[in-house]
């Protein structure tokens, strides 16, 4: 019943998972980048008038679509990583390499969802307000 992993193989597997560990930060990092870009460019446009706010707005709407596409891609990949359909399991209670692998996919998928929501909320003023009012 207990699946005690061998200490050496554990180390080895962990190294293999290191990339997945990095990968779960990609979606939130995209959100963060989009956030900084929006705030910085709109402030510049509204204070200095260059670039004109209309151009900034269109550029940032495009950047928003790009960010959402990147997050969707990351989300899709992490979903496959998680593979709830294939394994039939939503949760991963054991510290085995396999469970760790699926868990990282699961976490990355949820982070992708919240990052997408974050990007949409940050972009809402671009759509609703539009200018420097």
């Amino acid at each position: 019943m207990t699946q005690e992993p061998h200490p050496h193989s554990d180390k080895h597997e962990f190294r293999a998972e290191a990339l997945s560990l990095w990968r779960i930060t990609f979606a939130p990092a995209t959100w963060a980048l989009h956030f900084v870009l929006c705030y910085a460019l709109v402030s510049l446009s509204c204070i200095h008038g260059t670039p004109p706010v209309a151009i900034t707005r269109s550029a940032l709407i495009l950047a928003t679509l790009a960010a959402l596409a990147v997050i969707a891609l990351l989300g899709w990949r992490s979903y496959r990583h998680w593979a709830p359909g294939r394994t039939g399991r939503l949760t991963h209670p054991y510290g085995t390499p396999e469970h760790r692998h699926h868990f990282l996919g699961h976490a990355a998928f949820l982070l992708a969802i919240i990052s997408a929501i974050g990007v949409v909320f940050v972009a809402l003023p671009l759509l609703v307000i539009g200018g420097c009012q």
Binding site: I117, V120, F121, L124, V128, I129, G131, Q133
Partner: protein
């Protein structure tokens, strides 16, 4: 048994709290008793949020009740999952998204262009410097500690501060806006109901912050225009012997180093402009209703009424002298 005995008292206390809470909703300083377009939008937002909060509260507690009293057994994983995904993710995201979108459509309103009149208000310690800039004018009409608005017209306020951060808020007329030293913020108001309202500095700004209020009068446009014409004029000449003596005292005591009275040699800008001080409804930024006695009390010892007030006390003046000064100032309508 003890429960029963307590019930009537508990109920009385409940209704007392409810009626006190409701009584606080109307009045001259209530955001829930709006007297203008801008405050109405905010009041609506508030009521929608309260209603939504009540619904959510009932739903939450209804679920609690249902699962702990009515259907007391463990639920299937499917039910649990739907509750978590639906109630924990989908519902809050939709509600917050909708509120955010609505809030964002309201946000630009405070910078709407006005119908001509601009009022520049500067936060001082602890009073308000006021300048009216009617459309096309190149010199302002200077006033202090009171604001008047033409009803049904949109007026632009340009806000700033002299030393520290203050916040401008007339709840019955609109939202709140901070005032920063060295920076201009804007607020655009369209009051609709003629009447008197009370504003209050809403950002702690020092010892007498709580005494930094402002009277706002909304007037029919013709009455406003007539009033502004009077406000633009120089001060009345003292009409009585007592008032004349008061004017002489004003010279002798050097009040003009800090206060301006247009039409006299006094041009000080440290304290409020007193050209029409007697025409204001309140004294010292809403501290007291305007009256001869209030003026006397203020002149003798301002910091007894407003701790830390930046006006010196004049304890050496006799009662007769403060009466003369007060008579002079009260006559400056």
């Amino acid at each position: 048994m003890t429960d029963r005995g307590n019930l009537p008292r508990g109920r009385a206390a409940f209704w007392l709290v409810v009626s006190l809470a409701l009584a606080a909703c109307d009045g001259d300083q209530s955001a829930l008793d709006p007297a203008g377009e801008d405050a109405s939008v905010l009041a609506l937002l508030f009521w929608v949020m309260v209603a939504g909060a009540v619904v959510l509260f009932l739903m939450m507690n209804g679920l609690f009740f249902y699962f702990t009293r009515v259907k007391v057994r463990s639920q299937s994983r499917a039910v649990a999952r739907w509750l978590i995904v639906g109630g924990g993710i989908v519902l809050p995201v939709t509600v917050l998204g909708a509120l955010l979108t609505w809030g964002l459509t309201i946000l630009p309103d405070h910078r709407q262009a006005g119908d001509g009149l601009r009022i520049r208000v500067t936060g001082e310690q602890w009073w308000w410097r006021v300048e009216y800039w009617p459309e096309g004018s190149d010199t302002p009409i200077v006033s202090a500690n009171e604001l008047r608005f033409p009803a049904g017209r949109r007026t632009e306020l340009i806000l700033s501060s002299a030393h520290v951060i203050h916040s401008f808020w007339i709840p019955a007329l609109g939202g709140k806006m901070d005032m920063f030293p060295g920076r201009e913020t804007r607020l655009s108001l369209r009051p609709t109901e003629p009447g008197r309202y009370r504003g209050q500095c809403a950002e702690f700004c020092g010892t007498s912050h709580a005494w930094m209020a402002i009277e706002a009068q909304v007037m029919p446009p013709e009455a406003f225009a007539a009033w502004l014409g009077t406000e633009a004029r120089s001060a009345n000449l003292p009409a009585t012997a007592a008032a004349q003596a008061g004017m002489a005292l004003f010279n002798r005591e050097g009040c003009g180093a800090c206060h301006a009275i247009r039409g006299t040699p006094h041009v000080g800008r440290v304290g409020p402009d007193l050209t029409h001080v007697g025409g204001r409804a309140t004294l010292a930024a809403g501290r007291l209703p305007m009256s001869i006695e209030a003026l006397q009390a203020w002149i003798v010892q301002p910091d007894r009424l407003k701790p830390g007030a930046l006006m010196p006390a004049y304890p050496h003046l006799t009662r007769a002298e403060t009466l003369q000064l007060a008579t002079y100032l009260r006559g400056l309508e």
